[in-house]
């Protein structure tokens, strides 16, 4: 049931499912159905979606440690690239719709406001991940180096959840849940490393 083939077969459906919200929000934005403050709403939805997708990619790696679910890892690249897609939309909403390309203001905003700094660095770290995602790039870089680059997903996830945590004024339940999940997933990886037989010797 959880064969590589079946996971590969589910990809087109997943693709549409994950793409759909962005199309819906764009449609609602254009038709004036995103509420009273549509730019804020659009930015929040896109950002939240990106953060959730980042966390899902981390979960996939953990799940793939469970023998019968080993093949789930074939979904990781697509979901990771979708995370980047949503981050790009989130960031362009901020640049274009929210601040109308007022670069002087935006640069000040990124430097001065810690939560924007976190979000921006997180975005920058995602760029090398997305641009080395092809099979060809893995070959060219060699798996070891490629894997090292992709450890960047950890600071990406931590910074993105901090970006959300600082933004919320009160009732930080939701960002704390995301941070908790990220920490658990990281702890699991550390635990796995420490208990690896060849390292224990």
């Amino acid at each position: 049931m959880f064969s590589t083939r079946n996971f590969n077969r589910s990809k087109p459906v997943l693709f549409i499912l994950i793409l759909f919200p962005s199309l819906l929000w764009a449609y609602q934005f254009v038709t004036g159905n995103l509420g009273v403050n549509p730019i804020e709403k659009l930015m929040d939805e896109l950002g939240l979606m990106a953060l959730r997708l980042i966390i899902i990619t981390l979960m996939i790696t953990t799940l793939s440690n469970i023998k019968p679910l080993k093949s789930i890892v074939v979904l990781r690249r697509m979901i990771g690239l979708f995370a980047f897609y949503y981050v790009c939309l989130h960031f362009s909403t901020y640049i274009v719709l929210d601040h109308f390309l007022d670069m002087q203001f935006i640069i000040q905003d990124i430097i001065k406001r810690p939560f924007i700094t976190f979000g921006f660095i997180s975005f920058l770290f995602l760029i090398p991940l997305a641009s080395t995602s092809t099979n060809n790039m893995i070959k060219r870089l060699g798996f070891k180096l490629w894997k090292k680059i992709h450890y960047l997903i950890y600071p990406v996830a931590i910074l993105a959840s901090m970006h959300f945590y600082v933004l919320v004024r009160a009732d930080k339940t939701e960002p704390v849940i995301y941070m908790g999940i990220i920490i658990l997933l990281l702890l699991h990886r550390i635990f796995k490393r420490l208990t690896r037989p060849q390292l224990a010797q």
């Binding site: 509420g35 009273v36 403050n37 730019i39 804020e40 929210d98 601040h99 109308f100 203001f105 000040q108 905003d109 001065k112 406001r113 810690p114 939560f115 600082v166 933004l167 004024r169 009160a170 009732d171």
Partner: protein, 305 residues
């Protein structure tokens, strides 16, 4: 700069007008369901628009009543509109205590029969860098302060919001320390711009906007304008206020709208007027510099933000 819309209406006329508006609401409700809920306000918009500043446009009743920060009903902007249906704003009393001649509890109806209800169209600037233009009905806080007869030792006024977790679902969670508290310096409280609002767009104050009575201090960030007030206390020391207690590095006691003093999370230089696409420049004291700047001439506003 002129004070926006300050047409003085005797309370009786105001009540009559309210009846008229209610009547027209009932008839339009029958006609069409979709647009009727808010249609009545268009019947005589000139009441509010004639004194409007040329750069300002009234926000719609829908915008004002569906996009609110009122954490007593939940932390999302939609929550107050969706979760405030069970709140009962009548009967209502306000307790007056602290440094006053005689502590007492006023019935809201009694207060209202002793004051002059006016229309006041004010800009409201939220610390989150969005803003609206709202036609309030209310009376000057100074009128109530005179009724309360504070002692000369009273230097500050503290306000407390009602605590009813069974009617206000947001209060069942400790997102902030309930009940919500705010405060003003006595001269700020006595300023003619400072009002206690009991209605908007000619309606009784909607639950999500702070029924039945709320403060409006138009030159300060929105969180100073405390809603659903049940207690007013006169003090000789600066009172603790909710947001300042929660995050003193972000929110000060004064909280004057000031484009030159930044907040760690939002630049205060610009704002988005709800309903507009491009941001606009934020004005010093939210554009009420002429009326209130003198209150702060000896104060370092970067320190006392």
């Amino acid at each position: 700069m002129k004070i926006l819309g300050s047409e003085i209406t005797p309370y009786k006329t105001y009540l009559n007008r309210r009846k008229f508006i209610k009547g027209s609401l009932a008839s339009t409700m029958l006609a069409t369901v979709t647009s009727s809920a808010f249609a009545n306000h268009d019947s005589d918009l000139s009441i509010y628009t004639k004194n409007l500043n040329e750069n300002d446009k009234l926000n719609s009743y829908e915008e004002i009543t569906t996009y609110n920060n009122f954490y007593e009903f939940g932390t999302h902007k939609k929550h107050p509109h969706l979760n405030s249906g069970n709140f009962k704003p009548r009967p209502w009393t306000i307790k007056i205590d602290g440094l006053v001649k005689k502590p007492q509890t006023f019935d809201l109806e009694k207060i209202l029969s002793n004051v002059t209800i006016e229309d006041r169209v004010y800009r409201l600037r939220c610390v989150e860098a969005w803003s609206m233009v709202i036609p309030w009905q209310g009376f000057q806080l100074s009128e109530l302060i005179k009724m309360a007869e504070p002692l000369s030792s009273a230097k500050y006024v503290q306000f407390v919001t009602v605590f009813r977790p069974e009617e206000m679902p947001g209060q069942q969670k400790r997102t902030i320390i309930w009940p919500y508290r705010e405060g003003l310096r006595m001269d700020e409280a006595m300023n003619p711009l400072t009002i206690l609002a009991t209605g908007l767009y000619g309606h009784e104050m909607p639950n999500q906007n702070g029924a039945p009575i709320r403060l409006v201090v138009p030159w300060k960030y929105g969180f100073k304008s405390i809603k659903s007030i049940v207690e007013i206390r006169f003090l000789d020391t600066q009172p603790e206020t909710s947001w300042e207690t929660l995050a003193p590095w972000e929110y000060g006691f004064y909280a004057n709208v000031n484009p030159n003093v930044n907040h760690p999370r939002w630049s205060q230089g610009t704002e988005r007027r709800i309903g507009e696409f491009k941001r606009r420049e934020t004005l010093m004291f939210n554009g009420y510099e002429e009326e209130v700047a003198h209150l702060y001439k000896d104060l370092d506003l970067t320190k006392f933000y």
